[in-house]
């Protein structure tokens, strides 16, 4: 039984918009998604080798949201992630080597092996942080937006959250405050219908999330999370609104994760969701639908794609080698940064 069918229209009727974009931009979006996909698949493939002792939450199937959102942001804009960090981190310009070192618990991981996969953070690219506590960063990101407003700085903060995160009272509190103060922030809610193995229906009443958010007196949008351009455009509007000082936006974006909540492989066979549901969503895979779309417009073909994939694979392999060869922390490293000076 398909409990949560895809309800969008994919790239139907998007052809006419193509001319408003530079081809390089369109290709870059594709490449960024492909890069995340390839890296994630390689992480997944190697997970059983046991060198990465860190809980992973793969974004395979959810690449368009990270890439589309980050395309609408500058490096100075901030991004906060949930536990499902990889796509956010890579799309925001995070350092692949630093990420893989973190997965391998090395000292040159982006947080020196303290945070692991659920706490990727790199200040230099505006990857502002993440939390292993669902919704944990939602108020924190709101505070970052408050800081921008108080300092008169122009950066916009975007925070990713899952559908289940909206059940946490702290999100409600954050939305109230952001709307009250008209903060420059975007709440990007990836609704993938599940929290671990719990479907929405056991957790929330029937109503639409983006309409609920509108109840806080803020702009609220629904955008197809399989369509990277739609995500990009919706984010652009939201970011522009924030930069104009016109306050926060909530974006609900239906997506589907093709893998288990955590770890490698899909776990649909355990029965909490129907494999047919995943398969239906795989038909609107954000990577493949976009590829087909670009291809039909003559902007890409298999050769170009293969070249890209080859480059990315080489980069990925090199980064894994780097991580595996990287030094481990020593006992002394345990004791630093408990308190700041």
């Amino acid at each position: 039984m398909i409990r949560y069918p895809y309800q969008g229209t994919s790239f139907d009727d998007w052809q006419h918009k193509l001319s408003s974009y530079a081809p390089e931009f369109l290709l870059k979006l594709f490449r960024d998604m492909l890069r995340i996909r390839i890296i994630e698949e390689e992480v997944e493939r190697r997970y059983f080798q046991d060198h990465m002792k860190t809980p992973i939450h793969l974004v395979i199937g959810q690449e368009a949201t990270s890439v589309g959102a980050c395309a609408a942001m500058t490096r100075a804009d901030l991004l906060y992630a949930s536990h499902r960090t990889h796509g956010n981190y890579l799309a925001k310009g995070g350092d692949l080597k630093a990420m893989l070192c973190e997965f391998h618990c090395r000292i040159n991981g982006c947080t020196g092996s303290r945070g692991g996969s659920m706490h990727l953070m790199d200040k230099s690219v505006g990857m502002a942080g993440s939390s292993a506590i669902v919704a944990g960063v939602v108020p924190i990101a709101t505070g970052a937006a408050l800081a921008a407003q108080m300092h008169g700085e122009s950066y916009v903060t975007t925070v990713f959250l899952g559908d289940a995160a909206t059940e946490e009272g702290a999100v409600s509190e954050a939305l109230n405050f952001a709307a009250l103060k008209q903060l420059p922030i975007v709440y990007f809610c990836e609704n993938n219908f599940y929290s671990v193995q719990s479907p929405l229906v056991t957790r929330q009443p029937k109503r639409e999330l983006y309409k609920w958010a509108a109840g806080y007196g803020m702009a609220s949008e629904l955008v197809d999370g399989t369509n990277v351009l739609a995500v990009y455009e919706t984010m652009q509007t939201a970011v522009a609104r924030a930069k104009r000082g016109e306050g926060p936006t909530f974006i609900e974006s239906p997506v589907y994760r093709f893998r288990a909540h955590g770890g490698a492989g899909d776990d649909s066979k355990t029965g909490y969701r129907d494999i047919a549901e995943r398969e239906a969503w795989e038909k609107v895979c954000p990577l493949e639908t976009y590829f087909t779309f670009l291809k039909s417009a003559g902007l890409i073909d298999e050769t170009v794609r293969n070249t890209m994939a080859g480059e990315i694979m080489a980069e990925t392999m090199e980064a894994f080698d780097y991580a595996l060869a990287s030094p481990k922390p020593t006992e002394a490293d345990l004791y630093t940064h408990v308190y700041a000076d």
């Binding site: 002792k53 292993a132 056991t202």
Partner: protein, 345 residues
């Protein structure tokens, strides 16, 4: 494999003797307790995030929904504070909720309901209502659980009147203490440990209750007294058993419940050994170790032959990587070293 499953599978414990009775895994023992309680009393219900999903809280809730229906074993929204209040309210009105969490860290979201409501209702109401509520969670460790998924919070809660705190070490206790917790008319926190989930032990079938506030000797000895609970006690017992070969004869007391605390068993042992080592899965500073160490200085000073020692976690957040964790968590070797020092060897 989900998360730390491989790691937990790889842990080795002393095998139980099947001649002593039926052997069961720790998670199965808790599962059996829940099943018996649900069967025994229609007021009991079980909720928590994913209690009805295929992974079933490390297996602890496996099959319960099928057996007792979705009205009594049900998934929960991600609303720890709200659900703690909801369970408290249901408990005040005739139900006996068991509210389960993957990790104690998530209970920190619910401290207002737990500490300022559930724990105090019965007192504030002058006894008009009771709050027969069980809050369960499994302490994380290893495989990148890190600072936000590994916290032991018994040290934060010990100071709060109105609560009871249970930390079983064996499958037998896990079942019997869970049955006692559900039968208790007060809010009871049951903290399991992820690394004990696959430990096996002899577990009788059917209903039995392990009483609260009664510690148990896991090892008899005369040179020093080691007290603690849960996985910290398990490690200490391993250390103590090894040190017998070096001529160190440690007494090991499993407290089972930290609140109420079995002061008598500690006092009796200290009277004999004069030396106290307190162990805990939480931070050594200001938590369980501190309370018991202070009790020694306050009530059993005359028995003490030397300084009290405590082994818990250093005053540092939990790192995520195994490369750092190895320095962070006390292990059998470090516990042994402390014991040797205490015995002057």
């Amino acid at each position: 494999m989900p998360w730390d499953e491989g790691l937990v599978n790889s842990l080795v414990y002393d095998a139980p003797d099947p001649n002593e009775g039926r052997v069961l895994g720790y998670a199965q023992a808790v599962n059996e307790a829940l099943s018996l309680a649900l069967d025994h009393d229609p007021a009991v219900f079980v909720t928590g995030q994913g209690v009805d999903d295929p992974t079933a809280m490390f297996g602890v809730t496996k099959g319960l929904q099928e057996k007792f229906n979705a009205g009594r074993v049900f998934d929960s929204p991600l609303s720890e504070e709200g659900m703690m209040g909801i369970c408290t309210g249901a408990a005040m009105h005739g139900m006996r909720p068991v509210f389960m969490h993957n990790r104690p860290d998530f209970i920190l979201l619910a401290f207002n309901q737990l500490v300022t409501h559930a724990a105090k209702m019965h007192y504030m109401d002058n006894g008009q209502t009771t709050v027969p509520l069980v809050v369960w969670a499994a302490i994380g460790r290893g495989w990148g659980s890190g600072a936000q998924h590994s916290q032991s919070i018994q040290g934060l809660l010990l100071t709060v009147p109105g609560l009871k705190i249970v930390m079983p070490s064996t499958p037998y206790d896990a079942k019997g203490l869970m049955l006692s917790a559900i039968a208790d008319n007060n809010p009871v926190l049951v903290f399991e440990h992820r690394w004990l989930m696959k430990k096996e032990g002899v577990v009788p079938e059917g209903m039995y209750r392990v009483p609260f506030g009664k510690g148990v000797y896991r090892r008899r000895g005369k040179d020093l007294t080691i007290v603690g609970a849960s996985h910290a006690l398990e490690l200490s017992l391993q250390a103590a058993n090894k040190l017998a070969a070096e001529g160190i004869d440690a007494e090991v007391i499993d407290l089972r419940t930290l609140k109420p605390l079995d002061e008598e068993i500690i006092a009796a042992s200290l009277q004999k050994t004069g030396r106290l080592l307190v162990v805990d899965t939480g931070w050594a500073m200001g938590g369980v170790c501190a309370e018991i160490g202070c009790l020694a200085a306050e009530k059993w000073f005359e028995h003490l032959k030397g300084p009290v020692r405590r082994i818990g976690l250093p005053d540092i957040p939990h790192p995520a990587g195994y490369t750092l964790e190895q320095f962070f968590y006390p292990d059998v070797a470090r516990i042994s070293q402390t014991i040797r020092e205490m015995c002057g060897k």
